[in-house]
């Protein structure tokens, strides 16, 4: 996995540089026009926001119930990426909504629960930074709550009909719009995997540094 980080980063960088031209070639949506093109970055970042929460939650289960300390590095890395991709989702969404809906924000279940999940990631990272010894287990508990929020966020638009489009929109996209979407999705996923790997590696090295300091103090 470590060997794939640089190729993944390079390929995603090339794809993201090419993305505006590919998106520009996609047809305009009939009612929203140009502003709908925010969708090509909004959707991949939203899915990766949820994926980061799942990765953080699953690794937190490994920390809490199996005492796997290496999994903690992956959970922390996923939480940071959740905060990053969550911020992209929560900023690009309102910019699109302002034109499409006429408002920046509505307190509907999808938007509110996404904001809640993003705040859980923020709280998790603050706890890990300033919580001191034992914060990894407290944080793991918090990450579990975050993971439980994911199905609610995903299906909320189908259960409560609000302004936000339903989950059936993406599978029914015409090919001309689907192609740029999946191109951007691949670019974002490669970027996500490369950053996750880099960040987890950084955390594992940081743990090694702490262990070396402790060994030095004891000697």
């Amino acid at each position: 996995m470590r060997k794939l980080t640089i190729p993944f980063l390079a390929v995603s960088a090339v794809m993201l540089v090419a993305a505006p031209w590919i998106i520009n070639a996609a047809p305009y949506e009939s009612t929203m026009g140009l502003v709908q093109k925010v969708f090509y970055f909004h959707f991949p970042s939203a899915i990766l926001f949820l994926l980061a929460s799942m990765i953080c939650g699953i690794n937190s289960v490994r920390v809490l119930f199996f005492r796997n300390l290496r999994a903690d590095g992956w959970a922390l890395a996923a939480a940071e990426l959740g905060l990053l991709f969550g911020a992209i989702t929560l900023v690009t969404g309102p910019l699109w909504a302002r034109k499409a809906w006429g408002v920046w924000w509505v307190w509907d279940p999808r938007l509110t629960s996404s904001l809640m999940l993003w705040m859980i990631f923020g709280a998790y990272l603050l706890l890990r930074k300033y919580g001191g010894p034992g914060s990894e287990r407290l944080g793991a508990g918090m990450a579990l709550f975050g993971m439980l929020n994911v199905p609610f966020i995903y299906y909320s638009v189908n259960v409560w009909r609000t302004l936000h489009p339903m989950t059936s929109v993406v599978p029914t996209l015409p090919t001309d719009m689907g192609r740029p979407l999946w191109f951007c999705f691949t670019a974002f996923t490669l970027l996500f995997l490369a950053l996750l790997n880099l960040r987890a590696g950084l955390e594992h090295q940081r743990v090694r540094v702490e262990a070396l300091y402790l060994a030095e103090d004891e000697a």
Partner: protein
């Protein structure tokens, strides 16, 4: 008795105030105003919003990549120093 009458008048005035104020308020529109009837100078051009969205994505991703690179460099320097001290 007179005191009670004054109290009753004040109570009626207090109760009537919100009703009369509500009656003076302009009625809210009964439905959304279609977007194509909004005057041109009140509309936000879509290109500004699209550019802001794409700009934010690049800003956030590049900022995070630089942050990881900086932290990785610090940890690697620290690790190298500790391992050389150990030997």
């Amino acid at each position: 008795m007179r005191f009670l009458r004054v109290c009753a008048v004040i109570a009626v005035l207090f109760a009537a105030a919100p009703i009369s104020m509500a009656a003076m308020q302009p009625q809210p529109p009964k439905e959304f105003v279609p977007a194509d009837t909004i005057p041109q100078d009140e509309q936000i051009p879509a290109i500004n919003l699209v550019a802001a969205a794409y700009g934010f994505v690049w800003f956030a991703v590049l900022g995070y990549v630089f942050s990881i690179a900086r932290r990785l460099k610090t940890v690697e320097t620290e690790l190298a120093a500790l391992e050389s001290r150990k030997r």
